[in-house]
Amino acid sequence: NLSEKFDRAFKVLKGRGQITEINVAESLKEVRRALLDADVNYKTAKDFTQRVKEKALGRDVLTSVSPGQLMVKICHEELINLMGGEMVDLNYQGSPGIILMSGLQGSGKTTFSGKLANYLKNKKGKNPLLVACDVYRPAAIDQLHVLGEQLGVEVYSNKEEKDPVKIAQAAIQHAKSNSHNVVIVDTAGRLAVDEEMMVEIENVKKSINPTETLFVVDSMTGQDAVNTAKTFNDRIDFDGVILTKLDGDTRGGAALTIKTVVDKPIKFVGTGEKMDALDVFYPERMADRILG
């Protein structure tokens, strides 16, 4: 395990010794390696390792804990520090509250839209309206209708309309005249480098002025997480991140990368395919996971 790896890397440091530049060098390599294996971005891993070094230098290694254990503790604390911070709630208040989903292809937006509707209806007593704005993917609109039916949540769609902006605007009107107090807008998956599609989501956002914009990310994303998170943040300034498929065994380093690069809170995580598989984000659990 990591603590043992660190122990081995320390140059013969017994209890009552101090951590110095000399004896910590090898274990810092192990820190960086652990992060890269966990898919943390290359630069983020370098910066993080530097922070850990600064935190570690000069620390006394007490007889009760090995230098390896102390290193793990420092890494853990630093990860929680970087990924935690204030718990920022979802902003679904408004008449109606409007939540806009965004993200790359296959990240889990449609599934999460259903989960969110379920959560807002059953945990927050809201009357949500799901909106099908993915006009491209085969059977995307049907997919959302199936979820809506399973949940007893209304789905607004218009298969004749090919402009997501018009669909979204009409949906808001429909929500107002049908006492829906939250609107959840599902959109098509898109690449950050697809200019036309990025303009589309900018336009959807401008036209409906959401109370909450979410960026949905697959937790097994590797080094590319930094690029897509940055671009989406620059273009649509999202309020929160959703990390999906955490029921897998990926270490999830993208969580650290995204948080440090765009400094937006991770609000929820997806933990399965069923509609109740939504959980709050726990930085401590994520830190454990990343360190493996």
């Binding site: 296959g106 059977a139 979820l147 690449l191 590319d224 897998g248 065994d249 395919e273």
Partner: protein
Amino acid sequence: IVGKSKVDAEVLDELEEVLISSDVGVNTTIKIIERIEERVARDKYLGTEELDKILREEIAELLEENNSGEEVDFSIPDTKGEPYVIMVVGVNGVGKTTTIGKLANQFKRSGKKVILGAADTFRAAAVDQLIIWSERVDVPIVQQGMEADPASVAFDTVQSAKAQGADIVIIDTAGRLHNKVNLMNELSKIKRVMQKVIPDAPHEILLVLDGSTGQNAFEQAKQFSIATEINALAITKLDGTAKGGVVIGISDQMKIPVKYIGVGEGIEDLQVFNKHEFVDSLFS
């Protein structure tokens, strides 16, 4: 200017960053760098151009050859008159269903009789999605609607294919995370059931990987191989900024060739894997 016999540290640092940032992973990056250092010690290099050439050769070496050699088109091996069965597997959302649509299109264009099997009976509107693809490509599809037993759909599909003298069968399966034992067992069952109709089926078990997946791809390849013996890889969404570097290590360690790459959401957006172009794209 005599050939250098060592690679300078600065060059190695830069190389490490490029490879890691392309999701090649630490282990494979170390292996590549060691191979380069051996080559340089042996052959000497005259500068960045020569080193560049060595680098690209060494990475291409790690990419497993296709059984049919350097594939340049969408072809299938000779299966002596029985349908060639392709089972498509992978974790959730990677692009399996879309890849099947594109693949069916390529085979149909080359004159093959293709049949699709809608064995994802779990995810909302999964069968509808594949039906739309079968209509776009104009190929028959075998389906039993949602919540049917996936093995039964696969069985039906292979049986129909045999009866109709189809050339190619492509079975779509539900996305599943490789750490879910019951779902991986289901996959093994689907495979076994098809063997009742055609003992050699499935001839191809295609694992689809998302181009932006990180090191977890190794675990995916490992677990899916235990459940069903993967013998081909497809990597999708390479039209984005992700490099798909994980396939280098997977191909090398597990000796599985990459057959196809997905470069978009349209029917034409599928290419036969070309390892030299792939290596070039890592450095572009």
